[in-house]
């Protein structure tokens, strides 16, 4: 059965690029337009990995991670940040919130797949 990945980004082009890359490697992708939408979708369906942007309306990526980490089913699930932000301070904040890793945009499809494969197979 295909592993399910929740891709969270307010940019439609980013969601398209992430979905295209992951689907071409055989993963199933659920898309969310912001942190709030992602939190709802994550509750409705347990996903294997979350890939989230940081700066989004309604709820940002770090808040989403904090929210998900408080749910028993997401305590140990990998959550990757995929964002334009690359400052050490915000990375430390993400790490403290429970992020598994940090990818800076633009992403290289091969590198994204390598990281996802390493985390969920």
């Amino acid at each position: 059965m295909a592993k399910i990945i929740l891709a969270v980004d307010d940019s439609i082009s980013m969601r398209q690029m992430v979905s295209f890359t992951l689907k071409s490697a055989g993963y199933e992708v659920v898309e969310a337009v912001d942190g709030e939408d992602a939190a709802e979708k994550a509750k409705m369906e347990t996903v294997d990995l979350i890939l989230t942007d940081q700066n989004m309306p309604k709820m940002d990526g770090i808040t989403l991670i904090q929210r998900l980490r408080s749910l028993p089913q997401y305590v140990n699930k990998p959550i990757l940040m995929l964002t334009t932000e690359s400052g050490e301070a915000i990375k430390a904040k993400g790490r403290a919130a429970g992020a598994t890793g940090w990818m800076v945009k633009p992403f290289d499809p091969d590198k994204l797949l390598a990281v996802v494969k390493r985390l969920i197979g």
């Binding site: 940019s11 082009s13 980013m14 992020a99 890793g101 945009k105 633009p106 992403f107 290289d108």
Partner: protein, 242 residues
């Protein structure tokens, strides 16, 4: 009333205002009126002058920074756009070349399907073996071109964030200028048809107008530094696992 929308500059030791529309009231003359109007027992001409001078220096400094930030964002966007368009053009040119090589072979293979004769297929496969090898090689190249296109199309996200940042800055400048315009109207009203105004009331209103400008400058100085997009080109970003 002539608008106070314009640029301030320091000339011959006094701040002057140049209106964008060319009809702005000279700040120097407004200032002279303010000095004349200010009662000497409470707000001295010197202190009012010093206050206004400081305020206008801060204001022009902030506007200068704001415009520099917008200019820097535009240059960053220009650089991203140029990098993206050049690399995307190379990607599509590569895909187009590969497509031209593959098209005759694919057409040939389609022809074979219409006549499913095993010996004919074998003959043609042997004959076109080199091209098949070429296709295998090109497939990897094609995948690499597609990957590069996926990377480059993320330009839209970076550009959208930069645009949003620029729009915020321009809106901030617009709001600031509107507030200054309102302050100027208030200021001008102090000297038009207000002969009956008592010195205390006039002094209060002068100080209120100065406070209004001061609050605008304060807001400009306290605006948060936004550095969410630092990318200058479309090279892939870093990956870090914690």
């Amino acid at each position: 009333m002539a608008g106070l929308l314009g640029l301030f500059f320091f000339n011959d030791g006094v701040w002057q205002l140049v209106s964008f529309g060319g009809a702005g009231a000279g700040l120097a003359s407004l200032f002279r009126k303010a000095v004349d109007a200010a009662p000497s027992d409470s707000v001295s001409a010197e202190s009012l002058s010093a206050l206004l001078n400081t305020l206008l220096q801060r204001l022009s400094g902030q506007f200068h920074s704001l415009l520099k930030e917008i200019r820097s964002d535009l240059l960053q966007m220009q650089s991203l756009l140029q990098d993206t368009s050049e690399k995307l053009a190379r990607c599509f040119s590569m895909l187009d070349q590969q497509d031209r090589v593959h098209r005759p072979l694919v057409a040939g293979l389609k022809g074979m399907e219409m006549k499913p004769n095993v010996s004919e297929i074998m003959t043609r496969v042997m004959k076109e073996g080199a091209q098949i090898n070429q296709i295998t090689h090109d497939d990897a190249e094609m995948q690499s071109s597609v990957n590069r296109a996926v990377l480059l199309l993320q330009f839209e996200d970076l550009a959208a964030q930069l645009m949003a940042r620029m729009i915020d800055r321009v809106q901030g400048a617009e709001t600031t200028l509107q507030t200054l315009h309102r302050a100027a109207l208030e200021w001008n009203a102090l000297f038009q048809g207000n002969g009956a105004m008592l010195p205390d009331e006039r002094r209060c209103r002068i100080m209120a107008a100065i406070k209004q400008i001061e609050s605008v400058v304060d807001a400009l100085e306290k605006r948060p530094e936004v550095k969410s997009v630092l990318q200058q080109d479309m090279n892939p970003g870093s990956v870090e696992l914690f």
